[in-house]
Amino acid sequence: MIELDRLTKTYGARASVSDVSFTVEKGVFCAIVGSSGSGKSTTLRMINRLIEPSAGSIRINGENIATLPVEGLRRRIGYAIQSVGLFPHWDVADNIATVPRLLKWPEERVQQRVDELLAMLQLDPAMGGKFPHQLSGGQQQRIGVARALAADPEVLLMDEPFGALDPITREALRAELSRIHRSTGKTILFVTHDIDEALQLADVIALLRDGKLVQFGPPIELLTQPADDFVRDFMGGGTLGLKLLALRQVGERVSPEPVPGEPIAPETTLAEALSQMVLRRTSRLPVRGTTGGANGSIGLSDLIG
């Protein structure tokens, strides 16, 4: 559990972050969202004390982090950034092993952990001997994520980790991160300016504007009950309804009456179902039955809910 309590950071007279308080429960994926200069990165970097707050405090599992030795704290927290920052003179295995070696794990366990992580991120075990400049941008960021996870940290901080990647690689890595979050149950704080990325990944969203927390809550809440016009605009303005559809799955709205045609999967999002209806020029789509059950269908009116 991470508690931010009236967190403030000022540079001279200008407040980069002012009076931000929210709590992220254990195992929750929290996206910190805002436009450039909203203080989202500063907020994140105060959690591993790369920046010291001017006022306020942060507690991890009840412990005030200001009282902990700073390097020890950082070694307990995974950290991945947009520029990746792999050490160019170390091979991939040594890069991943950075924190375990700082924590003086026995070498055998370090090697075992490196192999585990390469497998977890679906990377070729032979990649361990390669150097960062030999890898593509997507591979480098996978290694960056593996390195952040290496010492099995309680918390993972990610600062726009996929911001510099092409859309296809970014999508693949988001899916990867989502899977890792589900399988490891880590608490993740993820900074992004991309609201779609936040909607796709996060359990809760902290929306910042000019250093202040505007709204904090589950994605659906920000979509359906935006605190003000800024939130509404940031969440998508006119396309807000479509983003809402993207959060729900066909399986929740399926009705038993069968219709002919190629069935869609029940995990399909409502947004994709709507897209299919437009493409197929129909107001009702067949839906494949769950595990052996009979096929059902979903109609245009079901989307509205």
Partner: protein, 375 residues
């Protein structure tokens, strides 16, 4: 018809022109007067004939199309011709001295230096065209040095004035060579010991850089003779003595500081800020970041600075002889004083060789650091 390899073509023409315009060796009745030139074609048929044949081969080679084979041929023939030229110089001197009084001197002439330089450039050009790595270049240089050493041991050069200057002073030569190397080594070690921490400080406090670099730049603009002279008065006042090794080393260190500080600073500041951010975020201590990240990544730039400083110090140490610090410069200034050019060369040639050797070794080291993360 146009030559295929213009560099080779121009170099060999320049070598031939050098041989036509100046004497191959010059013969003088004693070491202090200037002698009369003996042209290459006057040096005896065996000398001129073979050199002509080899030069013609190189000239023809510049018209041969292709990349690799002509370069290999130019490398072998160029190196061979260079050795032949050096051998012939000694051989010609021996032939002349056989019939001359023992006070007579035979010195190397313009034709020798010009064509020798052009042939060395032909070898270097061929190595570059072959994209030779450091190992092949090193092998070629070592073979050339070994061949010249064999000539020297066999007495090929004994009749040359340069060799006779050496023979008259070989104990002194070994002492001054050792002293020269020692002065350079102490100065470079001190410059690194002072300059590297200073460079690190400047990298950490960019605000302070203007003043420090300003002062170091100013030092560089003082002419070396003037700096050696300027140190005499204050050091005498301190009781250290204004002449000898100490002021020489101080001056050499002062000159060496700027490149060391600048390259240390550039090496450290050149490390990708994302790498440093990641290192801090993962919990490396500032000391660990310095030793494991910043220093290894900044090393190639630092070594480039060390290379500049070492080569510069080897040359500057010549001037240090003026204030009684010794070193190879003492031969140079004795030679100038006596108007004995071969004595000047006895000091100057080993200095050039030292500078080239230091440059090559440090380039090799830098290449090792550049390449190691890629293997």
């Amino acid at each position: 018809m146009m030559p295929r390899h213009r560099v080779l073509f121009v170099l060999i023409l320049a070598a031939i022109a050098g041989c036509a315009l100046g004497g191959f060796v010059s013969e003088a009745p004693n070491r202090l007067v200037s002698g009369h030139s003996i042209m290459l074609w006057q040096a005896g048929p065996s000398v001129s004939l073979w050199l002509t044949i080899w030069a013609a081969a190189l000239l023809l080679l510049s018209f041969v199309p292709g990349r690799r084979s002509p370069a290999v041929a130019a490398l072998i023939i160029g190196a061979g011709t260079l050795l032949l030229l050096i051998f012939d110089a000694g051989h010609t001197a021996a032939a002349l001295m056989a019939s001359a009084p023992s006070a007579a001197r035979v010195s190397l002439g313009w034709a020798f230096w010009a064509s020798g330089f052009c042939l060395a450039m032909i070898v270097i050009d061929a190595l570059q065209r072959l994209r030779a790595g450091h190992l092949l270049s090193l092998a070629v240089v070592l073979i050339l040095i070994a061949a010249i050493a064999v000539f020297a041991v066999l007495g090929t050069f004994d009749a040359l004035s340069l060799a006779r200057e050496y023979a008259a002073r070989h104990a002194e030569f070994a002492k001054e060579l050792g002293r020269h190397c020692m002065l350079v080594a102490i100065a470079v070690v001190l410059a690194v010991a002072i300059g590297a921490p200073l460079g690190l400080y400047v990298a950490r406090q960019p605000g302070r850089s203007t003043g420090i670099f300003g002062a170091l730049n100013l030092l560089q603009t003082i002419p070396s003779v003037a700096l050696f002279g300027l140190l005499i008065a204050p050091l005498s006042a301190l009781g250290i003595g204004g002449i000898g090794a100490v002021p020489a080393i101080i001056a050499l260190v002062l000159y060496s500081l700027l490149p060391v500080v600048r390259n240390t600073e550039a090496g450290i500041s050149g490390v990708d800020p994302g790498v440093i951010d990641a290192a801090r975020g993962m919990g490396l201590t500032p000391t660990q970041i310095l030793w494991r990240i910043e220093l290894p990544l900044g090393m190639p730039v630092f070594l480039a600075g060390l290379r500049i400083v070492t080569v510069q110090a080897i040359g500057l140490t010549i001037v240090a002889a003026l204030i009684g610090a010794g070193g190879l410069g003492s031969f140079v200034f004795q030679g100038i004083g006596q108007y004995a050019i071969d004595l000047v060369l006895l000091g100057a040639l080993p200095t050039i060789a030292l500078a080239l050797a230091a440059d090559f070794i440090l380039a090799l080291l830098a290449a090792f650091f550049e390449r190691s993360p890629h293997d």
